[in-house]
Each structure stands twice: as C-alpha cells, then as structure tokens.
Amino acid sequence: MSEEILRMSHICKSFPGVKALKEVDFSCKKGEVMVLAGENGAGKSTILKILSGLYQADSGEIFFNGKAVKIKNPLEAQKMGIAMVYQELTLVNEMTVAENIYLSIEPTKKFGLVDRKQIESSIQEVMGQYGIELDLQTMVKDLPVAQQQMAEIVKILIRQPELIILDEPTSALARKEVTQLYEIIRSMISMGKTIIFISHRLEEVFEIGDRVTVFKDGSYVDTKKISEITEDDLIRMMVGRSLQNIFPEKTQPEQEIIFQVKNLNVPKHLRDISFSVRRGEILGIAGLQGHGQTELFNAIYGILPRETGEIITAGESLKIGNAKQAIKQGLALVPADRKNEGLFLLRSIRENLAIISLDQRKKLGIFIDGKKEKKFSLDMKEKLAIKLASLRNEVASLSGGNQQKVVLGKELAINPKVVLFNEPTRGIDVEAKREFYNIMHDLARSGVAVIMYSSDLMEVIGMSNRVAVMYEGTISAVLQGEEITEENIMYCAYGASLANKGERTL
C-alpha cells in the first residue's frame, strides 16, 4: 500500500508568456486515490499532461515504479501503464463508441482485419465488471455528454493501466453519474490500480480521496492525508487566505430599473425568461452547467437568434439582431471562452483592445487615428491595471488574468450601459479575480447594469445582490439577501422551487 508508484521532481514548464510549473514535486503511492487540488491555473492539468506524454517538461525528472523514465508521447505513457482522461474528451465524433474505445489497440484476426466480435465481447465484459451501460454501435456525436464521458472512461479501463489520471471527470456529469463514477473508482482501487484525480470541488475531494496534493500558481504547496484535514484547511491551502475577504462589500442598489429582459424564448434553449436589473445592482446567474446560461447571454447579445423577447434599457426597447447592433446600443459581453470567443490571440494587445471601438477613433473619415488609439489603449491599460511589457506584443503572451482584462477592456471601450459577464474569472489567479470583482463592483456603482454567470458558486454568492437560478432553460427562482446560500441555489438548480423546500425537509 505504501509503495511509491510515481515520483515527479523539480518539474518546470513554460508556455509563451506563462510559467505554468515552477520546480514542482508530485508523487503518489500504489493503490491510493491521490487528489490534485488547486484553483484554475494552478498547473494541475499541466503536470498531468506531462505525465501522460502530451506535453514535455522543460526540466525535471519522472520516476515510475522506481525507474527514471522519459515520456515522449501519449503512446509511450500508455505502454508504461499510464492513462489519462482529459478534460477535453479525446473521442472521435464520427466513429462508433466501440471503435473509439479500442482505437489504436484493435485486436486483429486473419488478413489483419479488426476483430469486431472480440472487441465487443471484451468491452461488454469490462462494462459488466463496472456496471456501465453504453450502446457500442452509436456514433459518439449522437451520445449525450455524460455518456461520452463514460465511453472515455471505458476507453481507459480497456487499456488496463496501472495509473489512471482523471482530469475533472465530473464537471459534465449529473449527480447520479457522479455516484456511479465514484463506484468505478473504488472498484479500480480494489483491483490494485492507482488513481490521480483532479478536482476543485471540495466535497469531491473528501468523498473520494485518500490524500490530497495542493498546487497554487504553478507551485507545490503541500500534501496531506484527507482524514487529517478539514475543508477550511484545504481552502486555505488552495487560496492562501480564507475566501470571505476577496469580495468587495455589497452595496444597496437603488430602485430604478435600468435593464430588463421580457419573455425571452429561444427554441430548444430558453423558455420565457424575464428579469430586470436595478441601478447599482449585480445580478448573478446560477445553475448547473448547460442549463441555458450561455445561451441566455448570447441571445441577449444577438449572437443566438431569438424567437420572442424584448430587451429594454432605460425604458427603451432595443432592436438587436446581431452583435454589432448590440454593441451599438450599449451592450457588452465578456464571453465564457476567452480564447475562442473573446480574443485574437496572435494579434497585438493594442489591436485587441481597439477592435470593437475602431469607428470611434477615425481621422479623415476612413483612417485609424494611431495617436488616439495609442492613448486609448494606454488609458485602458492603466484603468484595468493590465500587466504587460508592450502594447505591441501578442495577447497570447499575457497571463490568463491579463488576457481576461483585455477582453473586458475591449468591451468597456464603448462605455456600455449593460455588461454581461459569462464565467469572468475562469482560469485566472486569485489576485486577478479580486481585481475583477472590484471592477465589476465599480461598474455596478457607476450605473452600469452588471449581470454575471459563474459556475463557481462562491463567486455568485459573494458578488450578487440577487441571484437568478436557471434550470432547463428557465429561471427557476430568484433569490435575494439572506436567501442567497449555497444550499438554496443548489436546491433550485435541480429544478425545485424554494417554496417547496420547507415541506420537503419536513
């Protein structure tokens, strides 16, 4: 039990502009569930991708089963007995479940043909062992995400690795499937396998882990036995301070309504959404992932076509058919996927900041006024405290937090009346988070309607004056004041209404 299966020492890894791992150590023992915890951007995924052969470390050593090893690609890792379930699924949509599970290790019969019968029977056997049910002949693209996740896990199991890495495998799963996954993990352990589990959900760490290693900002913090620590200890290890004081103090909003959405409908995504925001207020949106939050923002912003729905600022109904019109009428969106939706990574910081507001700084009617643009981008850099070497550098060279500030900066350039924040602090460090919270707070106080969705509940609770909880494309409840608790939000996020809560618990 106490035999060490893996030791990684002094691992360093840099990406352009970011030091992802700084001399990090990590090890685990045979037969345990080692949880790797830490905030987004702490380097958890990076170190495990080095272990799985997807990335190469800049320096450092890896010992597996006592031997020094070099892992040049995923194939080598697999051969050694290391397999990883990545956050981004590694399934091929256009192939069947069975084909995906056995990809690259297909057994053959004569003429080198794939032995489909053997494939099916051995998958069935493994699935039976772990109590998993999947239709093997379905195309992966036709499966719901949760089942895709299961297929991914079967794909790992079939390769019979000694060491299994699971990178936030529960983020796409409903509660029932999470329980099933825990079962699978336990039976894997009972078969003598070792598991490394990345998570930032506290309850998960305590439910499934034997030991926990904490990373913070690319450095190793500590390793502890789960049985010997409390949730508070863990938070302190992860965040470096207790969570309470990173949010600015909430202020009382005024009565005046400055932004309103009425009867918003988007086929297949949103049903009868209505809400309003008062001056000085931050409206939080909560709910489980995939219940229409992103669609709500995109629909307001004109990216997703609406069937019905009125969008009103300052008592005036807006005509929004695309993002251009939305921007013109003072709406701004900080999209969830900063790299794909927010930024032009390979262009300069200055160009990124300027892109939305180009038309405001023209000279002779057609040219970009370089001087004005430079001043504008310097001002924005000051205002948002963006840490950068030169405005001419590519945005890709910035850290996550500063990239996110550039996204916000390009939106703020149009002096928006409404700002929609979709996962504003995903993948950025604590300090940047705190700055972001202050900016949001200041925006709200200056009379901008601020609406924010985050999958991080603490954030929603810490920031919002009111919280609208979404469930299956509708708003299932709006909570305010004392009602805003983790328990209440989760309760509504599963579709129950708060009014019934009392009866149920009774």
Binding site: I303, E341, L346, E351, I355, L358, F367, G370, R392
Partner: protein
C-alpha cells in the same frame, strides 16, 4: 525607385513586429546579389525596371490572394479569372481605343462576378474556400472555352499597349506605376483602416470577430470580390503586354500568385502578414524565374525550382515561429 524606399520603410516596421516579413526582404536582397554575381549588370536600372514590370503582373494578381489568405481562406480561381479576363478583354477591345471603357467595365464585372460567386459558396453554402474556388475555377475555364470556342479573338487597344509598354513615364512602365499606386492603397487599407483591422481579426478568429460585432460575411464577400477584380485587372493588362489573348495566359500565375503571398510571409492559416511581404514575394518569384532563364534552364526546370523554393521558404518560416 520610390518603391524601394517604401519597402525599406515597411521592412523596418515589420522587423519590429518580427516574423517572416522581415526575412523575405533579406532573402530578396540575397537573391539580387546572387543575380548580380551570376549575371554582371543584372542590377542595372533598365533591367531592374524590366524585372519589376514583369513582377507587377504577379504582384497585382496576388493582391486578392493576400486578402483571401489573410482572412484564413484561399482563392484558387485566380489563374482562371486571369485567362477569362484576358480573353474577354481582348475580344471586347478588338484593337480599338474607343472600346477601352467598355472593355474595362466588362472585365471588372467579370472579376467581381466570379468573386461574388466564390464568396456566396463559401459563406452561404459553407463550402471550404479552396474547393469552392477550385470548382468555380473549373467552371470559369469551361465558360471561357465555350465563349472563345477554343480560339480567342481580338487584340489590344493601342492605348493599353502604350500603358503596358516600357516608357510611358520616362523609363517607367505604366503597369509599374499602377502596381505602385495599388500597393500603397492596399498597404494603407490593411494597416490603417478599420476594414483592414477587421480582415486580420476575421483571419485570426472568426468566432471572436462575430462576438466583437464584426460583419464577418461582409468581410469575406469583399475579400473574394477584390480577389476576382485584381485577377481580372491582371488578365486585362496582359492583353496589352502580349498584344492579344491566349487560352493559357493564367496558367503561369496559378502557382506564382499563391507563392508570392506565402513566400511573402503571410500565414496560410490567416490573420498574420500583409501585402508588404507579397510585393517582395512577387519580385523574388520573378527574379528567380529570370535568373533561371539566364542560365538556360528550361520552363520545366524553372517550375521544379519554383516548387522547391516555395517549400523551403515556407518551411523556414514555420521553424522561425517555433523559436
């Protein structure tokens, strides 16, 4: 030599940004030096002007390609549009100056029309640019074959021949002047107007461009229409240059127009590079071709060398990016 100064200035700028565009001018200088060694007297003004005049055709034809590649697309119909415009232009002109305005308008309409069809397929029918433009190219080929019956008619108007000759402005050809003006316009548009910025934005990240309120469809339409027009202009000018039209006028430009863009350091994935590099790319392609002629290499051999050079340069750019 105003063009040279312009290039120097741009090279300085590009150097600051870094990347392949600066390298391509170093490459150009190296090639010119080699040329001077192989064939003394190569760098004489007269010869340089002759070279630049030839490069102008490639240069103008690759304006549109630069735009298309910058948005992350590609236009493989250019060679066919050149031939089409060449044939239509010469037929409409029929050797008369008075037909020139009609010829110019027809040719521009032809180019814009092909570009419009390309962009509709790419944007509305969601057909990948390379295959859409290849398909449209094939159709254009069929159309000009049918139109000309396999035997193109007509010839250049004297005025056009004059312009394409070698000495309209002193010793400088009208074509070269036109290329220079177009270059200034193109570089200014790409670098200093909102429209140019948006082209880069679309090329880097279409989704983010849409989220940033950029009219992505509009940009893509404009780019392929511009490409059709610049190809048509090239085809039209070639009537003046050769005096008449041929069925394979465009063939030569099929590889060179794309090569000029890629050699010029514009990333084939879109969003990086610019016309400054393409100018050098066009000159490099022309000088190399010319040099190979001087040392008696056949057309076929020149083609082989061209292909190898494209691969080597593109490879060296991709290595540079890694470091």
């Amino acid at each position: 030599m105003a063009e040279k100064t312009l290039k120097r200035g741009r090279a300085g700028n590009l150097m600051a940004i870094g990347g392949p565009q600066a390298v391509v001018y170093i490459g150009l200088a190296a090639i010119l030096i080699i040329a001077q060694i192989i064939s003394p007297g190569y760098l004489k003004m007269d010869h340089i002007l002759t070279m630049l005049r030839l490069a102008a055709f490639v240069g103008i034809a690759s304006i549109g390609q630069t735009f298309a590649v910058l948005t992350g697309g590609i236009d493989l119909s250019i060679a066919y549009v050149i031939t089409f415009a060449n044939i239509v232009g010469s037929q409409v002109m029929y050797g008369e100056n008075q037909n020139l305005p009609a010829a110019v308008l027809t040719v521009l309409a032809v180019g814009a029309g092909v570009g419009l069809v390309n962009s509709m397929g790419i944007k509305f029918l969601k057909i990948p640019p390379f295959i859409m433009t290849l398909g449209v190219g094939t159709i254009v080929q069929g159309i000009y074959m049918i139109y000309s019956g396999g035997a193109p008619k007509g010839n250049t108007a004297p005025l056009l021949r004059e312009m394409c000759g070698n000495n309209i402005f002193g010793r400088v050809s009208g074509i070269l002047v036109l290329w220079f003006i177009l270059s200034v316009v193109v570089i200014t548009v790409l670098k200093f107007t909102p429209y140019g910025r948006k082209i880069y934005a679309v090329g880097i990240n279409q989704k983010a461009a849409r989220f940033s309120g950029i009219n992505v469809s509009g940009i893509i339409f404009s780019v392929y229409i511009i490409s059709g027009i610049t190809a048509a202009i090239t085809g039209f000018l070639l009537v003046g240059f050769t005096g008449t039209s041929y069925l394979d006028t465009g063939t030569k430009y099929a590889t060179t127009n794309l090569a000029a863009v890629v050699i010029g350091g514009t990333a084939i994935t879109g969003g990086r590079g610019g016309y400054g590099g393409t100018i050098a790319g066009a000159i490099i392609m022309t000088v190399i071709d010319d040099l190979l002629v001087i040392i008696n290499i056949s057309q076929a051999g020149r083609q082989v060398v061209q292909g190898i050079i494209i691969l080597l340069l593109v490879f060296s750019y991709s290595q540079q990016k890694k470091n």
